[in-house]
């Protein structure tokens, strides 16, 4: 387990003491406590069960769980297929998810069939939560709600005749502003939880320590919202002037919440075009961490070119200025004092 983002629950003889179809509807008190703890920490919860869908819908209504599970998979098919569908649909890596089932056979079965997935009993989950001191930001608390908003986006997209028209109708607003001390927890979260679009040159600890050090460095934060909801702070860049008119990118992380087409590029380019980060040249090192190749593609999309003799990627200001951004994202810039 890398970091716990999602818990996929079994129902019969896990959340429930007995079997739903046999009329055993008593909720295990430990399950109830754990689900509430997960809610408070903004860890997503989903349900994978072999009960019939209509029975599950009734149970969800009956137990007041309509806001609890971001996805429910209910059918008679194999459990692993349901778990896989949940991971795929939510875009969560198996390394960041746990499957909770009181039946050791089911746990072992999932472990064999889904590489990287953590199979836990409720006692395992309880022990994990007791030892986890991760920060809980506003964005974290809103995470389940954000996933529901994302599902509404996907439904809107599926019913729209043209994807670009749909994106334009979303009124996507990206705001780029200077980092403030109160962003520290969210910055840590972004640098820790983001895998695909994380420069990863510095350790998280080092990256965080440098944010508050005095000096010439600049840190910018990107926030995003649309008609479906507020995604909060989704991107961060930390740059240090190199004394030669250029700037070195120390840290860069962009959350996977920006999955719609072109938004990661809009966010990266927006961060670098802010008045605080306007330099002749942008340099960065890229370290492959096993999953962050999309960031390498993003850097290429923004015009960064490899400089083999320097082991760096470099982007000139002229090239940055010429990047065409999607017209469905509106980028606003704020200074310390207000908008500009």
């Amino acid at each position: 387990l890398r970091i716990l983002k999602l818990v996929i629950w079994d129902l019969d003889e896990t959340i429930l003491r007995g079997i739903l179809e046999e009329g055993d509807e008593e909720i295990n008190p430990l399950a109830s406590t754990l689900m509430q703890q997960l809610d408070r920490r903004g860890i997503l919860q989903a349900l994978a069960t072999q009960n019939p869908p209509e029975r599950i819908l009734a149970a969800i209504h009956q137990f007041g769980w309509s806001d609890r599970f971001v996805q429910v998979e209910a059918d008679l098919g194999p459990k692993a297929k349901k778990v896989k569908r949940i991971l795929d649909n939510l875009g969560v890596d198996a390394l960041d998810a746990a499957f909770v089932d009181e039946d050791p056979f089911e746990r072992d079965s999932i472990a064999v069939q889904i590489s990287g997935m953590t199979p836990w009993s409720m006692a395992d989950l309880e022990a994990y939560l007791a030892g986890d001191a991760s920060p809980v930001t506003n964005e974290a608390r809103r995470r389940p709600q954000m996933y529901r908003e994302q599902q509404a986006r996907v439904q809107g997209q599926e019913t729209a005749s043209d994807y670009a028209d749909f994106l334009r109708s979303c009124n996507i607003q990206i705001t780029i502003r200077p980092y403030r001390p109160e962003d520290a927890m969210r910055a840590e979260e972004l640098l820790t939880r983001t895998h695909r679009m994380n420069l990863g040159v510095l350790s998280v600890r080092e990256a965080i320590a440098r944010l508050s050090q005095p000096g010439e460095h600049r840190v910018l934060v990107a926030e995003m919202k649309d008609v479906y909801g507020d995604m909060g702070r989704c991107g961060i860049v930390h740059v240090t002037p190199d004394g030669e008119g250029g700037v070195l990118i120390e840290s860069l992380a962009i959350s996977c919440r920006t999955r719609a087409r072109g938004l990661s590029l809009a966010m990266l380019v927006g961060l670098l075009r802010h008045a605080n980060t306007q330099f002749d040249r942008y340099r960065c090192r890229y370290v492959f961490n096993g999953t962050n190749r999309p960031l390498r593609m993003l850097l290429m999309g923004a015009g960064f070119k490899a400089q083999p003799e320097m082991e760096e990627l470099v982007l000139d200001a002229d090239r940055l200025a010429s990047v065409e951004l999607p017209n469905w994202a509106h980028i606003g810039y704020k200074s310390e004092g207000g908008e500009f």
Partner: protein
């Protein structure tokens, strides 16, 4: 020099096969049909081009299809800017430095 679409029209059958396959793979990753008339269309940093995930998917498909390993140093915006520059790159790699490559 990188080839333009007009140059490719006169090229050998191998180049045509590469071009056809690159168009097919790019269309798959973009989710829309490209044609030979789109050879010089910019493929990212535009409204209709790749986003970073689709571009990665496309490059993985290219690697698999042609038996290439595309190093990070080659991920250059001028090389992967359009179908014609990508075709030129693939032909160059097939010719020069990848003995195991195949089409």
């Amino acid at each position: 020099m990188l080839s333009k679409s007009s140059d490719l029209a006169g090229l050998d059958r191998r180049a045509q096969v590469v071009q056809k396959k690159v168009i097919e793979l790019a269309s798959l990753s973009l989710g829309r049909d490209l044609t030979t008339s789109a050879m010089d269309e910019l493929l990212y940093g535009t409204q209709t081009g790749f986003d970073s995930i689709a571009l990665m998917e496309f490059i993985l498909r290219l690697e698999e299809e042609f038996g290439l390993s595309i190093p990070d140093e080659d991920l250059d915006p001028d090389v992967f800017g359009s179908i014609s520059t990508i075709v030129a790159y693939v032909l160059h790699r097939l010719d020069k430095d990848v003995p195991s490559a195949h089409i």
